[in-house]
Amino acid sequence: MLRYILKRLLWMIPILVAVTVLIFTIMYFVPGDPVRIMMGANAEEAEVEAKREALGLNRPYYVRLLDYLKDVFFHFDFGNSLVDGSSVTKTLLSRFPRTFLIAVLSTVFAACIGTPLGITAATHPNSLRDRLAVFFSLVGVSIPGFWLALMLVILFSLKLKLLPSQGIGSFAHYILPCLSAGFMTIALQTRQTRSCLVEALREDYITTARAKGVVERDIVYKHALPNAAIPIITHLCGAIGGKMAGNLVIENVFAIPGIGQFLIRSINNRDYYGVQGAVIFFAFILCVMNLITDVLYAYADPRIKAQFEDSSKRKKKAEAGEESAA
């Protein structure tokens, strides 16, 4: 098992290197001059050129790329933002907790609300509950997140004056962002839970269990759900990883100083180092979350776990055999 994790971690490195090269190249081709933006539209051409030289942006592609790769992978230094000169690494680290908090909270909402809804729907097929849950989940994946965010702001902040409409500070500030960010995940979670559980409940072993007289509650929670759990867990963990970047627009609407807001500002200002740093950071988090998902997957599913244990047990037997033979 450990070896699998190590192998995956090692794989992450070339992938991240490739992502770095990819994003560097994309930014290289993005039209628009960050130095012009920095100096303002009314600056003279000579000034802009001087500044560009001073920032090292006139060097050829390969030189800059290698320099950047060296900085990122050997020194963990993402460079300095072209907008304000501050360290991108520091900025990312300081903004990360908020983005992460929203991603996690919205996924927790999804798990807490979506799973029971899905279970209800699956255990009462074709009833009113089921139809409502299906409808709700379909509506949930159809509403644009930022539109929902604005509508929630109108309702809860303007009309009812219950919740703050933007910024951070107290727990209350996070409710609306997490709700709007999580709405689609809740809906997807309901769908996933429902369909997986429906599939599981159709299996033959469930019929056997019923025939044996097992209580319905136990059938659902002890037999069907654990088998259906795998794709559900996969979905949830994958959601956290994807949401970190997916919440860009939500962060914008609610003025939350997270990485997404930083990324949009960097893109608008053609802040190469800011964009590259944020994207690599997101990719890193995504890879880590994928790894965690796969590990959880392995633990949840005894069949996969056995695969790993088998291969290591076999090796041990072989070694023991050699020893006894020697």
């Binding site: 992938i15 992502v19 081709f29 379909l138 159809s142 539109w147 109108i154 949009i264």
Partner: protein, 288 residues
């Protein structure tokens, strides 16, 4: 005298139609989409005003008989703009998905068929692309290419290509192992025949389902890109751009926000339901 009895063969398409007709909700949604597409296509005939007709005397009007959905901040009729905007949104959704399916299918087919080194290289490239969240990739590509209709389609399709490629590759790999393909090879069927008669029909099923949901996703993606300002340049009445313009007025004139958002939601909802219906109709496990 011998009569040869030939049982009438139902093509899978006919089977599919028959089963799809039973999905009432999906059929209803299909009808809605068709009506919507028709209305948007006939916008020049139906729309009461031009979509860029500015009227300085009628700014921010609430819905009334003259303006069914009211007017926006430049006095333009929102209903007309929604009709014209539907063309963009629907077209972008369908075309972006189509492009994604096409390119994804090509790469997936290459990876699935040739296997070995080629497969490995392509898979690694997929891994790299999938390490980036798709919305991010779309935004970045959009920044490189700039605003515009075709650019938006390209930017949106890039994020979904890998998904389709993986799907097709998985189908091909699973089909390759099936006995009847081996049998067909054994009796001398050419590769092309195998591909056409066996592999593609089986691989199509998940692709079709995914593609239908994909249209829904691309419409949302287009709205998001337009909202952050990377959409089609003004005065295009694209729905996401209308939402973006409305966000400064949510306190004073919320109607500007409600109508485009509801239209997007309805369209996406319909496509999702159609996708659900298609999946249920194609699912071999569900008994007829």
């Amino acid at each position: 005298m011998k009569k040869s009895i030939k049982a009438p063969r139902e093509t899978s398409f006919v089977i599919f139609c028959r089963r799809f007709k039973k999905e009432k909700a999906a059929v209803a949604c299909l009808i809605i989409i068709v009506l919507m597409a028709l209305a948007c296509y006939l916008a020049p005939l139906i729309a009461p005003y031009a979509y860029d007709e500015i009227n300085s005397k009628a700014l921010h009007q609430l819905p009334s008989w003259q303006h069914i959905f009211g007017t926006d901040d430049m006095g333009r009729d929102i209903f007309s703009r929604i009709l014209y905007g539907g063309r963009y949104s629907l077209a972008i959704g369908v075309l972006a998905t189509g492009l994604g399916v096409l390119v994804g299918a090509i790469f997936g087919a290459i990876a699935g068929f040739f296997g070995g080194k080629v497969d490995m290289i392509i898979m690694r490239i997929f891994d790299v692309f999938q390490a980036l969240p798709s919305i991010l990739l779309s935004i970045l590509i959009s920044s490189v290419l700039g605003a515009g209709f075709t650019n938006m389609i390209i930017a949106l399709s890039v994020g979904s290509m890998v998904g389709y490629a993986r799907l097709l590759r998985a189908s091909i790999l699973s089909v390759r192992k099936i006995d009847y393909v081996e049998a067909a090879t054994a009796i001398g069927c050419s590769s092309a025949r195998i591909i056409v008669r066996h592999v593609i029909p089986n691989a199509m099923t998940p692709m079709i389902v995914q593609a239908t949901m994909g249209v829904a996703q691309q419409i949302l993606g287009a709205a998001t890109l337009a909202y952050i300002g990377l959409g089609i340049p003004a005065p295009s009445p694209e729905w996401g751009a209308m939402l973006s313009a409305a966000k400064d007025y949510i306190r004073t004139y919320p109607h500007m926000l409600v109508f485009p958002g509801v239209m997007i939601a309805i369209t996406v909802l319909c496509f999702n339901m159609i996708g659900d219906g298609v999946r249920d109709a194609l699912d071999p496990k569900l008994k007829d």
